[in-house]
């Protein structure tokens, strides 16, 4: 679960060069991309954690984010609670929900192979979407906060300030996860389970407990993301679904279990997307570029691996 700067200095240099070039060409694209890419990364990190430790691709990942957004929306409309304050109760509610869903469903297919895991998480996704649809209907909803759209102008360069928080959260979650994995006993046990679950079991690690903890933690992190996202986004039952695919794409681009790589992948793709959006009449190409870059990186890595 690491990304070695020493071994990947060429990639790092390329990454910096890419940012400098985009920054000179269009500073807005660089900043928009950094912010958007950090959001992609922080959403992808918990999915990568579950994928790396449990080996389960959670297709309901984005829908847990949707549930978090609706919980915060409800806390705001019913109790007038600020979305950022709502993060605390939302994380607790999502953690309980994640644990219950894990125990009732995913635990039973953890040794059943990928098809069963995909089907069961797909089923969870459908239930969550339809459940939200029944309770809140498909009508989009918003929470407006003045601070979420604040802007600054420095030497004629105008930029939004709120989404800079996404960069901090992405780095914060990444550092938090790395510290947890390296500096705590449970984290080291988690790392061991991710490397070799059978071996970990033999040395006395409670693998089932680790799985439960990791899945619960992953869903709870989405509560934090939801709290920061809600003031900037419309919510509707399928709002989180596209993030499942993008998160998987980032995990694939970074390489299995590479948490640091997810941040770099997210920012690279975010800046690429913003750069394409900045070219008049080429906005529609951003998805093609997003997945095109992804395919090139995966192919390049396979080629390098084969050598």
């Amino acid at each position: 679960m690491s990304f070695s700067f020493k071994n990947s200095y060429k990639i790092l240099l390329l990454f910096i060069l890419f940012m400098v070039v985009i920054g000179i060409w269009n500073p807005n694209a660089l900043l928009d991309g950094l912010q958007r890419g950090s959001l992609y990364a922080v959403i992808a990190l918990p999915l990568a954690l579950v994928l790396g430790i449990l080996g389960v691709l959670n297709l309901a990942h984005g829908d847990f984010l949707t549930v978090g957004l609706y919980i915060i929306y409800m806390l705001n409309t019913r109790f007038d609670m600020d979305p950022l304050v709502s993060i605390v109760p939302t994380v607790i509610i999502l953690a309980i929900m994640g644990a219950v869903i894990y125990l009732l469903t995913i635990k039973n297919v953890i040794d059943e192979g990928h098809l069963s895991q995909l089907l069961i998480t797909f089923g969870i996704s459908l239930i969550l979407i339809e459940g939200i649809n029944i309770i809140w209907t498909s009508m989009p909803r918003n929470v407006y906060t003045n601070y979420a759209y604040a802007a600054k102008e420095v030497a004629g360069f105008r930029f939004g300030t709120y989404e800079l928080l996404y960069i901090l959260i992405a780095v914060g979650v990444l550092v938090g996860l790395q510290l947890f994995l390296k500096k705590t006993r449970l984290g080291q046990a988690t790392f061991a389970v991710g490397q070799n679950p059978k071996g970990a079991k033999i040395v006395g690690i409670n693998v089932n407990y680790v799985y439960l903890f990791v899945f619960t933690l992953a869903v709870a992190i989405l509560g934090v993301v939801a709290g920061f996202m809600l003031p900037r986004t419309s919510i509707f039952p399928a709002v989180g679904s596209p993030f499942s695919l993008k998160s998987f794409a980032l995990a694939a681009m970074a390489g299995m279990g590479n948490l640091n790589g997810i941040l770099f992948a997210g920012i690279t793709l975010g800046i690429g997307e913003a750069a394409i959006n900045s070219i008049p009449n080429y906005g529609g190409w951003s998805d093609i570029v997003f997945f095109g870059v992804l395919i090139i990186v995966i192919l390049a890595r396979s080629y390098r691996g084969a050598k």
Partner: protein, 408 residues
């Protein structure tokens, strides 16, 4: 013995006739019930049926409404028509919304050829699929090209009335899917016509530009790059064609990048919940068929508003609510005038109905480009003012003057 048998047969047949007279008139509706448009349209239809039955029904018979959920899915919408025709044996079809769903339903509607009063579906593709020969088909919502024409007429009249309002430079932000792209193509056609001094925008459009964006409804939601392009273009009128999920983030990101066009127009099919309560909504112009404020200038709009709230304990929030009510009342008016359910007589009667609708416009049937029974032909231009939707055009039902220019 023979006489007794004859008496029994006559009595039996007579009783069948009486029973037939006592059977309710069945109206089959197809709406997407999970969406507010279909949900409120169905509730408004229930209100209309209740009022009809409270007043003695139609032709001495009660009216029964059977609603089937299309779930906004073409295959479900088509299956709903088959179910209503074969299982429920309805007399009429009403509904519904979404051009995509409706196009899938048209083959089934053609198969049964029952009198159909369709409230929604605006795409000209649906109109072409119905074709010119379906005399049993009535369509209430203006077709997309009729809507575009009415906006052109509306803006021309607004600019004539308000000398400070300018519409010369238009920038269209359109979502990159079918809906937005079709809007962009329509504007390109209007501009081409206007350059030759023709069409609804002749004399008012001078320049036109556009840029696409990925709608939040389809996984997008990042508009800043597109908005900076619009800001650089400096339009008189900025219009975006996307979905309800884009409304607030689009406005908020406009403010963030410092984009403040004199006219900020939104043209989504629906708006998010409580949009008018959002401080960003002030002075935003929108297109629609109805606004709650119409009750100030129309008795039937006021009646509909009051009774709907009384029955359903919620406010109508989409024009599909009064349109659903109109859907049933228009059919009822036709049946009353025809005095029979006989198809040809009823079609003729419906063509002559003039129904004063809660949409603030009298519903009359006239031919459109393809079909012979088209209802409404224009949309209204509305504006959010101090948390309220006001009608600013057509002037005969306007509830407020336009507030201009738009500002944060």
């Amino acid at each position: 013995m023979l006489i007794i048998s004859l008496v029994l047969v006559v009595t039996f047949m007579f009783s069948l006739g009486v029973l037939a007279q006592d059977d309710p008139i069945k109206i089959g509706a197809v709406n997407p019930l999970g969406d507010i448009t279909g949900n409120q349209s169905s509730k408004a239809m229930e209100l209309a049926v209740k009022e009809i039955n409270d007043n003695g029904g139609l032709l001495g018979r009660k009216v029964e409404l059977i609603v089937v959920d299309s779930e906004f899915k073409p295959e479900k919408g088509a299956a709903a028509i088959d179910k209503l025709a074969t299982v429920d044996e309805v007399d009429f079809f009403v509904g519904g919304m979404s051009s995509g769903v409706h196009q899938a339903q048209i083959p089934s509607l053609k198969k049964y050829q029952k009198i159909t009063i369709w409230a929604g579906a605006a795409s000209y593709l649906a109109e072409q699929a119905v074709g010119p020969d379906a005399d049993w088909y009535f369509h209430l919502h203006p077709w997309d090209y009729q809507q575009g024409e009415s906006y052109g007429v509306g803006w021309t009249q607004i600019a004539e009335k308000n000398e400070n309002v300018e519409i010369g430079r238009i920038f269209l932000a359109y979502e990159e899917g079918g809906f937005g792209t079709a809007s962009f193509e329509s504007y390109e056609e209007y501009v081409a016509l206007a350059e030759n001094g023709e069409g609804p925008y002749a004399g008012i459009i001078e320049e036109f530009a556009g840029a696409s964006f990925k709608s939040a409804a389809l996984g997008g939601g990042e508009y800043r790059a597109m908005l900076r392009q619009a800001k650089e273009y400096d339009p008189d009128l900025f219009i975006w064609a996307g979905y309800a999920a884009d409304a607030i983030p689009m406005l908020a990101q406009s403010r963030e990048v410092g984009f403040e066009p004199p006219l900020y127009v939104g043209a989504p099919p629906g708006w998010p919940a409580d949009f008018e309560a959002n401080p960003l909504s002030d002075k935003v112009v929108l297109y629609g068929m109805w606004a709650p404020a119409l009750r100030e200038v129309s008795d039937i709009a006021d009646h509909f508003w009051t009774e709907y709230i009384k029955l359903h304990k919620e406010r109508p929030a989409t024009y599909f609510a009064p349109l659903g009510y109109t859907n049933i009342m228009f059919l009822a008016e036709g049946i009353k005038q025809a005095g029979t359910l006989e198809k040809d007589v009823l079609i003729e009667a419906l063509r002559n109905v003039k129904y004063d609708s809660p949409l603030g416009t009298t519903l009359e049937i006239s031919p459109s480009n393809v079909i012979s029974n088209q209802g409404f032909t224009e949309q209204k231009i509305l504006q959010y003012q101090d948390g309220k939707q006001e009608v600013i055009w057509p002037f005969d039902v306007s509830t407020a003057e336009i507030e201009y220019p738009f500002s944060w």
